[in-house]
């Protein structure tokens, strides 16, 4: 399998567009970080050394307090344990993650009310929200959910859109006309109301939300695919395949779709940023993923409600701006690399 030299050229061109290239690097870095979020942000310890044994509690079943000589059966409170070990000055030790809090955990204190401002001493680097949950933890876990939400959404909508769109473009005629009207009617269904109605009946979870969003999000790419297929289908290489006796199935999948890939790829990054924004706004309105699932929309909402706790709104806004800009820069880079428009003038 050899990569088409044209593709190599496109990749090289993308790499030469520094803004897009570095954005992609940052984006991949963020995704990898979020994949290993448990190692960085967790109330469970990374490593516990206790009477000669080494424990790695991060992944796997919970370890009851008794294991470490505590007087309870529920999951060990590692922060407590760490303090205790230090107090005892024993050879036992606990290595906690950078942010030793879970995204669901309320870190409450006796004489104060959350939200707590950022404090290095408490290891709440971005402060807590109004129920005492660590904002950095919620941002990271929220990012993970949002990004995988939009990636899965992308795959689902593109599969639907590409199949229907290329079928419309290829067969045209009545089939095309029928789906055109369907799409027009479909796009006029008020999306928000449907979500409100649905979420009043069932509590939406991740899968249901993807299903609903895909239900209303397949039209854009279908429209695009239809147009490209119309264009591609009249080209001579399709005629050549037909002359050889190729079946319609083969013509669509072996000939037409590979020729539309570059256009589909160009649209993908913008679809991803669209997905993130959509999920965030649903969460903001309270129709998205149910609490207490960490979400940027919910954080934004809190920030709005607690304007004096500037660290809530501040950190989530910065996080959103950085993420969306990164994705948009990638999209711009891809578009420029795939379809360079040389700026030509005549005197």
């Amino acid at each position: 399998m050899k990569i088409n030299p044209l593709t190599i050229k496109k990749i090289r061109r993308f790499r030469s567009i520094k803004r897009g290239y570095y954005s992609l690097a940052l984006f991949i870095f963020l995704i990898i970080i979020s994949l290993f979020a448990e190692v960085l942000v967790n109330k469970r310890a990374l490593v516990v050394y206790y009477s000669g044994d080494i424990y790695l509690p991060t992944y796997g079943a919970m370890i009851p307090g008794k294991t470490f000589g505590q007087n309870y059966d529920y999951e060990t409170n590692y922060r407590e344990l760490s303090r205790e070990f230090k107090k005892q000055k024993s050879s036992n030790w606990v290595l906690m993650p950078v942010i030793p809090y879970d995204s669901y955990e309320n870190d409450l204190r006796d004489d104060e009310y959350p939200p707590f401002p950022p404090s290095i001493e408490n290891k709440h680097y971005l402060g807590t929200d109004n129920v005492g949950r660590d904002i950095a933890a919620r941002l990271l876990y929220g990012f993970r959910i949002a990004i995988f939400f939009s990636l899965i959404l992308l795959v689902v909508t593109y599969s639907i859109g590409v199949s229907i769109g290329s079928a419309m473009g290829f067969w045209g005629g009545k089939f095309d006309l029928f789906f055109q009207r369907i799409i027009e009617i479909w796009s006029n269904i008020p999306f928000l109301y449907v979500i409100i109605i649905v979420s009043s009946i069932i509590v939406p979870n991740f899968i249901i939300l993807i299903f609903i969003m895909a239900f209303f999000g397949w039209m854009g790419i279908t429209w695009i695919m239809r147009t490209i297929t119309y264009k591609e289908k009249t080209r001579e290489y399709v005629l050549a395949a037909e002359t050889l006796g190729a079946s319609n199935f083969r013509i669509i999948f072996k000939h037409i779709i590979p020729n539309t890939i570059s256009i589909i790829v160009t649209f993908a990054p913008f679809a991803i940023s669209g997905g993130i924004v959509a999920l965030t706004s649903l969460d903001y309105l309270g129709f998205g993923l149910p609490p207490p699932i960490p979400s940027w929309g919910e954080l934004l909402q809190q920030g709005w409600a607690n304007m004096d706790a500037w660290w809530i709104a501040g950190s989530v806004t910065i996080a959103m701006v950085v993420t969306l800009m990164t994705v948009t820069f990638i999209g711009e880079g891809v578009r420029e690399a795939f379809d360079p428009k040389m700026h030509t003038i005549y005197e």
């Binding site: 061109r13 395949a241 050889l244 590979p258 030509t344 005549y346």
Partner: protein, 678 residues
Amino acid sequence: MHKDWPDSEVILKVENLVVSFEFESGRLPAVGDISFELRKGKILGIVGESGCGKSVTALSIMRLLPQPSGVIDNGRVLFDGKDIVGMPVEEMQNIRGKKISMIFQEPMAALNPVHKIGRQISEVYRLHFPEINKKEVKERSINLLDRVGIPDPDIRYNEYPHQISGGMRQRVMIAMALACKPDILIADEPTTALDVTIQAQILELIKDLQEENGMSVIFITHDLGVIAEICDDVVVMYAGRIAETATASDLFKRPSHPYTKGLLSSIPRIGTKRKTRLSIIKGMVPGLDEMHEGCRFQNRCPAVQPLCKVQPPQIAEVSENHFAACHFSETTSTLFDINTKNDVKIYGSGLNDGNESLVVSNLKMHFPIYGGIFRRQTGKVYAVDDVSLKINAGETVGLVGESGCGKTTFGRCVLKLYNPTSGQVSFNGNNILKMRQKDLRPLRRNMQMIFQDPFESLNSRHTIGDILEEPFIIHKIGTPAERKKEVKKLLARVGLQENAVNRYPHEFSGGQRQRIGIARAIALKPGLIICDEPVSALDVSIQSQILNLLMELQEEMNLTYLFIAHDLAVVKHVSDRIAVMYLGKIVEYADAETIISSPLHPYTQALISSIPIPDPMRSSKKQVLYGDVPSPSNPPEGCSFNTRCPLAYAECKIHEPALKFITTSDKAEHMASCHLVK
């Protein structure tokens, strides 16, 4: 460089011009160190294949190189004693359009589609003569349209470019270029996009106007025939350098550069013996990034010497006012005379056992036109209108006609790529049009097609290996290993390297891609191949390579060809019999020799007469057809040719002549549809 021309002064002088282009991969020279002179009141032809730097030279003279990628690195362009290269932009704008004008290859692209023709012409006056009032501008514009031979100029004045035909558009372009009575007209392939009968009109027009105004013309073309037709002096360019300059008569009489000789001998002419092996220039023009040290023609030259590989030849005088850039221009004169020798290979046809391979009867293809609010059918395009044709196994039938005459549609109907309105197509006894797609598919391996555009007809996402393997996969032939072996055989057969398997179409030149297209067509050893303009998108020197290959394959594999093309000389060279098509109908049908030597239909006669012959000494009066091909959606009453026919009389406007057998002396099968032919 030239000695002083005897009777005429030099109006434009190009000295040591070097032009480069900035690419992603770096800066590459497109034109390297060329010098030539344009004499006052003369037509200078620049000829060469694509990629030889002809257009770049013209654009440099106009200072219209695309910015910022195109750069004039060196040299001077002296016009009226002033150097254009270093001129301030404002001064240049006064020269452009007023002193030097230009017309382009694609008149539709060069005219602004949203402005009326009148407005575009009067713009020239408004720019260069702002003092003239509106009424006079209009008057002058209409006069101008009249002068370039546009009928009803006052009506056309208010029409948009899309409402007139290609030939008319080129006339409008010429009118615009001539509005200010320029000293120099640069014509960049002005007739390449036009049909041969329209080309003859435009050439005549340019020549008439040139004589009338006494202006100088730089005429760029790839067609030596056109050069011979109208040029006084010729510059032959090859790979960004000048290969040869001479007066036209001298060039055709005594070509000195091997490239010129090769070009002259490789084109099939109407007089060339049929089915002879054409002499070729091997290989192709090197790309900008693969220019050779030394002589740039070295890899294609049949007389290459060690010296050519190291030292670029200087341009040197061969005889008076005749210069060539070849180290051995004296000694190579015997080369390329193959066509005159007697031992030329003549290709046979395929084995003709008298069986009919393809019988088409009364085929009609009418495309509906929809209009109105409810998209009801408002008319029809009579693309193919009642055509019958028979091809015997192993022979080649040529189908020739101008663009829009329905020849491509006919070819596609025969393969049932379109669904014809009515008629029958029988291939090896199978009635194709009645068959269902599913039943037709297995039959498709016996009837293949070679397409016009080798860039479009290969899927750019597939490797050559994928492309050639596809026919085997579709028809479920062989194991993957066997297929791979077949693909290698095919590549070798059409003259390509084995390593092409893993490469992609864009890595090949046009000629090589056409070879791949041919390999795909012959992969399953078909009986019938429909060649749809297989060489018209290729350069002159590549055309003969492909034609040779096609004839070779026919002899070897016993193929039957339907050869569709607009170039009568090419069609005549490869065909046994020829059908001439006009406006969806066959107007004349006979064997190839007869149709050329004694054409009966006035359209065929005009077609033959319009072909530019690369021999300036032949000053036969051309029979130029006036007017344009009528629209196939609204064909004229009576004989479809009556609107352009020089011999038309009352009968022709009422009754349509039938295609009937003509009794000739040698009892050959000869059919024509004309009231005058009995």
